[in-house]
């Protein structure tokens, strides 16, 4: 499988969408963090670290586009056949892609951090924790995208489902804010908070709200819980994506 991973990484590193994504990530993070476009009002009040953390939400949007396009290429071009003929199983192909995307996420995160530092972010104590938690939650999101991209072979349906998940995440979090603030009480509230944090958008909101708007913690289940939720989501999605996959007949 290590060979598959090396082959995938070679392709990811030369993929124009990934390269352009990294360039945009750098530029946008730098410009926003340094506030080169003269944003006023709430953006100005966020502070450097707040603005840097704000733009990190774009990473989620990027992987919504990148993961389906890249992974579904296996089926679009039919190159998964080469891998199966050479003796690899579909599970191994899936795992190599997943690891490849995690690596891509790490690369993009490194670019983002460098751009933020160059843009003036210096309070690493304030940033480190939220960034790490958010990146772990994106791993769970990538696992969801991989489930869709690997189980469904038709590109247009993959694309629709991927954006459905993104839309659902957004709408659910907006609705969740209302529910958790005004409706759910007691144990229902705690369950609601845990469900809220299953989405990387939810976890992002928790820390963004804390950093840039108010120190109130009404949707924060705590750091260990957030990490546990993200890891749990990743493992569940991996299981769903690989259960019985080796028996699947490819068309």
């Amino acid at each position: 499988m290590i060979n598959l991973y090396k082959a995938d990484m070679r392709r990811i590193k030369s993929n124009p969408i990934f390269i352009i994504g990294c360039i945009i990530a750098f530029l946008v993070t730098f410009v926003f963090t340094k506030n080169l476009i003269g944003l006023t009002g709430s953006f100005e009040m966020m502070g450097t670290e707040g603005r840097m953390y704000f733009v990190s939400i774009a990473i989620m949007a990027f992987f919504t586009i990148f993961v389906p396009l890249y992974t579904n290429m296996e089926f679009r071009y039919g190159v998964i056949r080469n891998k199966l003929v050479a003796g690899y199983s579909q599970k191994e192909v899936y795992l190599s892609h997943l690891l490849g995307h995690f690596t891509a996420l790490a690369i993009m995160t490194a670019v983002y951090i460098v751009a933020g530092i160059l843009g003036g972010a210096r309070d690493f104590g304030k940033l480190f924790g939220p960034c790490v938690i958010y990146i772990i939650s994106i791993c769970g999101y990538i696992a969801v995208m991989m489930l869709i991209s690997f189980r469904i072979t038709k590109m247009v349906i993959v694309s629709i489902f991927a954006f459905l998940v993104l839309n659902f995440n957004y709408s659910a979090i907006m609705f969740g804010n209302f529910l958790i603030s005004f409706v759910l009480k007691g144990i229902a509230n705690k369950i609601g908070i845990w469900i809220y944090n299953m989405s990387p958008f939810g976890q992002w909101m928790v820390w963004f709200y804390k950093m840039a708007i108010s120190p109130e913690d009404f949707t924060n289940p705590g750091v260990p819980a957030q990490i546990l939720i993200s890891v749990g989501t990743t493992l569940i999605m991996m299981f769903l994506a690989t259960a019985g996959i080796n028996k699947r007949n490819l068309k």
């Binding site: 949007a61 586009i65 396009l69 694309s159 954006f163 459905l164 529910l179 409706v183």
Partner: protein, 254 residues
């Protein structure tokens, strides 16, 4: 042209995805109703029709974009567009026919959503408390116009980029990005607390988007004159068709 239009319309109406989109509209409305009902039970209140009648506008951007993407992309993924061009159909006719198909889909989905909404509002709620019939009709009319414009825009993008993998994501990404951005603009123009603090260029841009970009018509109740909505939707349709025709006529079909 009309023969091609008839063929395309027939193909759309008999396609599985058309039925699935209708089912998605119904399922979405039902799901929204169930969730709202549970919440209102918890807070011990009665549901007014306004709480559940407008699920479709919030999801319309995505539904219309996804459905038109799927149906229009078939032309390129199956290679059927080549058959049309080879058998003498003009490129302009093929493009316009696809765009009309996008419009038709948008109208059908919105009409169906309206019927489903009326059904749920009539039988499961206390009725409309804060909106008159003309206001309800206005809202559905504006929603229909916005969906038609979005359907045309989405179809044009797929026709212009068809066969390219980017076509799968551009329309959907734009629909999502506009939804998020419009929500933000709405929050800035009409904040819950206090008054709008935007000035100058910022204010002008936000107002323009809120007034003339059809995606923003789906986010809130109509709060401009009908003329603005007609201008906004017509402009989007005209731009999409004109640019789409130019690009599609010139592009190489693979």
């Amino acid at each position: 042209m009309f023969r091609n239009l008839y063929a395309d319309t027939r193909s759309i109406l008999s396609s599985r995805i058309f039925g699935l989109a209708m089912l998605a509209v119904f399922a979405g409305q039902t799901f929204d109703f169930v969730i709202t009902k549970v919440i209102y039970l918890v807070i011990d209140a009665s549901i007014s029709a306004e709480s559940i009648a407008y699920f479709y506008p919030s999801a319309a951007g995505f539904i219309v974009t996804a459905a038109t993407l799927f149906i229009t992309d078939r032309e390129f993924s199956n290679g059927c567009i080549r058959n049309k061009i080879i058998s003498g159909v003009k490129r302009s006719d093929a493009f316009l026919s696809a765009v009309c198909g996008g419009m038709l889909q948008a109208v059908m989905y919105t009409l169906f959503a309206c019927v489903v909404s009326i059904f749920f509002s009539s039988f499961f709620t206390l009725g409309f408390m804060a909106e008159s019939i003309s206001e309800i009709a206005d809202r559905w009319l504006v929603t229909t116009m916005a969906c038609v414009a979005i359907g045309v825009f989405s179809t044009s993008i797929v026709m212009m980029l068809g066969g390219n993998k980017i076509s799968y994501v551009v329309g959907l990404f734009l629909a999502f990005a506009m939804k998020v951005w419009d929500n933000r603009i709405l929050g800035k123009l009409y904040p819950e607390k206090g008054h709008c603090t935007l000035t100058g260029m910022n204010l002008a841009v936000c107002r323009f988007i809120d007034r003339y970009v059809p995606y923003s018509y789906l986010v809130a109740r109509p709060h401009y004159d009908m003329g603005s909505y007609i201008i906004g939707c017509s402009a989007m349709v005209i731009f999409s068709v004109v640019i789409g025709l130019v690009v599609f006529n010139k592009r190489e079909l693979k």
